[in-house]
């Protein structure tokens, strides 16, 4: 890689990058990633805002959601199942995953995390970290028991995707991936639903109040512990549903490493957006998704450094913490939790 070779290559790549076809592709890719990050990170940020717990097991919920969703699809979908039926089954699977992972999350809050609220926050990190180990290894046992390869994607689950999502469409000279569109729509609907819940319902109002001051909320006659459980369950459930969405995506797929692959970017998103702020998380998810997609393109086309996208994401994290530790939308004094 000498300078003389690199320079024209770089200029070429730059020209290529700014072609409408490329830009739209990167944009679509970035937005689909943003939708997924927003789904996973919103649960993380809600839980942190309300309970002050940074949940290291959050990615494991996504991973479990991917496997559970895959299981539902593999059971329901046969080779003769039509595309529309597959999409309907997917929605059924979403409900199953939402309920099951939500229940699991609720149980975790009641059974484990609740016991630690009066200890220093470091113990909550430790607890959820240990929980992640247990969930991941437990999943490995089950997955291996059924003869699935735990590291690579679950192919049968990938195969339940409707045919029209498997290949790209050409629209007006632009390449469009239907799967990415599906992810974006699904993500927007989910995030929109959570946002409506937070701003338009009494329960959502209680959640926002509790995030700010749980003592005052309790003194108004509200059972804050039950709100904690509900929010933890909700956050876990949405993370699980995101996993269901990833199960169809060949870039991710249902696999054990999915737990870490989603946890780390989700951490970046919540920190960049400002821990505990829902709006900040959504904006940061967009930002991180677009950075990720842009860097992925550069890595594939111009710069041969394998870790480029990932490295950029962590650099964004580090830079945010140096320049504006409270994140884009965070207002709280840093380190309070």
């Amino acid at each position: 890689m000498t300078g003389t070779v690199l320079a024209p290559l770089f200029v070429d790549a730059l020209g290529e990058f700014f072609r409408p076809g490329t830009l739209s592709e990167v944009l679509l890719n970035g937005l689909s990633k943003a939708a997924l990050y927003a789904m996973i990170a919103s649960g993380l940020t809600l839980v942190f805002g309300l309970l002050g717990v940074l949940n290291f097991a959050h990615g494991s919920f996504t991973m479990l959601g991917a496997y559970l969703g895959g299981l539902v699809m593999v059971v329901l979908v046969g080779s003769a199942t039509g595309d529309l039926a597959r999409v309907l089954f997917f929605l059924v699977g979403t409900l199953v995953v939402f309920a099951a992972i939500g229940a699991l999350g609720g149980a975790v809050e009641v059974g484990l995390i609740r016991q630690l609220y009066d200890r220093p926050p470091i113990y909550q990190i430790l607890l959820t970290f240990g929980l992640a180990l247990v969930l991941d290894e437990g999943a490995r046992i089950v997955v291996a028991f059924y003869g699935l390869q735990p590291i690579t994607d679950w192919r049968d689950a990938l195969g339940t995707k409707p045919g029209f999502m498997a290949e790209n469409l050409e629209v007006a000279g632009l390449t469009v991936a239907p799967l990415a569109l599906f992810q974006i729509v699904f993500g927007v609907v989910t995030i929109g639903a959570v946002w409506l819940f937070l701003t338009r319902t009494r329960y959502g109002m209680v959640v926002r109040a509790g995030s700010e001051d749980d003592e005052m909320t309790a003194a108004l006659g509200i059972d804050v512990n039950r709100v904690f459980t509900t929010v933890f369950a909700l956050g876990s459930a949405v993370a699980g549903v995101a996993g269901m969405l990833l199960m169809w995506d060949p870039v991710w797929g249902a696999s054990l490493p999915l737990a870490h692959e989603t946890l780390l970017p989700a951490f970046v998103v919540v920190i960049v957006g400002g821990l505990g702020t829902f709006r900040g998380t959504v904006v940061a998810a967009g930002l991180v998704g677009l950075v990720d997609a842009t860097m992925t393109w550069w890595f594939q086309n111009a710069i041969t450094f394998t870790g480029l996208p990932e490295m950029m994401i962590f650099l964004v994290l580090v830079l945010t913490l140096i320049v504006r530790p409270q994140g884009l939308f965070g207002v709280e004094e840093v380190g309070g939790h």
Binding site: R208, A209, E212, A219
Partner: protein
């Protein structure tokens, strides 16, 4: 039967022993002032009643029912309201939402809002602003409004005049006087004239125990009896 009865209440923050056996009684309909220097445990007494900082020893009975061991929200459900020091608005909720959330579950929210706006017409005009953007006086009014709509039989009011301009203090005084007509109040207040004017009776706290008590009429604001305990 007294409305509220504290009997040998001992409360700790971690290892620090703050309340070392507090006894006090409040009858229904009274306004009782709780006085004392900074750091003698006035706020802790209120937090103990609310079970926010549960006592290790002693008993707190409300209408004869033991509160120690209950959850804070159960204490609140029983009819005990809190207007805390520093107001503690939900700053990211609107004024209206701050009132809404204080209306007990199952009660008529619209009626609650009506009540609050009637008592504090100024608040209605800014109902859509974030509570965090309000002035100190407005926040105090909102805090009192929250206590008002909470259908409480006993209000624990902590330093309502702290940090407010004299004119606003007067408004707060009037608001509390109006509220006192409806509910029993336990008032922690540094502003002696205001406290003694509102109160029927007083208790003085020092080093975690009650050292004096009596009728508010017995003492005037410059009485030697109070000054002994209150000056640093």
């Amino acid at each position: 039967m007294s409305l509220l009865e504290l009997d040998g209440v001992e409360t700790y923050y971690g290892e620090s022993h703050i309340l070392e056996g507090v006894d006090l009684e409040i009858e229904e309909g009274e306004v009782v002032a709780l006085m004392g220097r900074n750091g003698v445990g006035k706020t802790t007494t209120l937090r103990s009643i609310l079970q926010l900082t549960p006592p290790r020893e002693g008993s707190i009975r409300y209408r004869g029912e033991e509160l120690v061991g209950k959850e804070t929200h159960e204490v609140a459900d029983a009819g005990v309201g809190w207007i805390p020091e520093d107001r503690r608005m939900f700053s990211q909720l609107t004024v209206e939402e701050n009132v809404r959330i204080a209306v007990p579950k199952g009660s008529d929210v619209e009626a609650g809002l009506e009540l609050a706006w009637d008592a504090f017409p100024d608040l209605e005009e800014i109902r859509d602003r974030d509570a965090g953007d309000l002035s100190g006086g407005q926040q105090q009014m909102l805090a009192i409004a929250r206590g008002l709509v909470g259908e409480n039989d006993l209000l624990l009011v902590d330093e309502p005049s702290e940090g407010l301009a004299p004119l606003i203090v007067e408004a707060v005084h009037d608001a509390l006087e109006a509220v006192a007509g409806e509910t029993t109040i336990l008032l922690v207040e540094q502003n002696l004239p205001m406290a003694l004017d509102l109160a029927d009776r007083f208790y003085v706290l020092d080093h975690g125990v009650v050292v004096d008590s009596g009728d508010a009429d017995e003492v005037s604001t410059d009485s030697e009896r109070l000054r002994r305990h209150l000056s640093a």
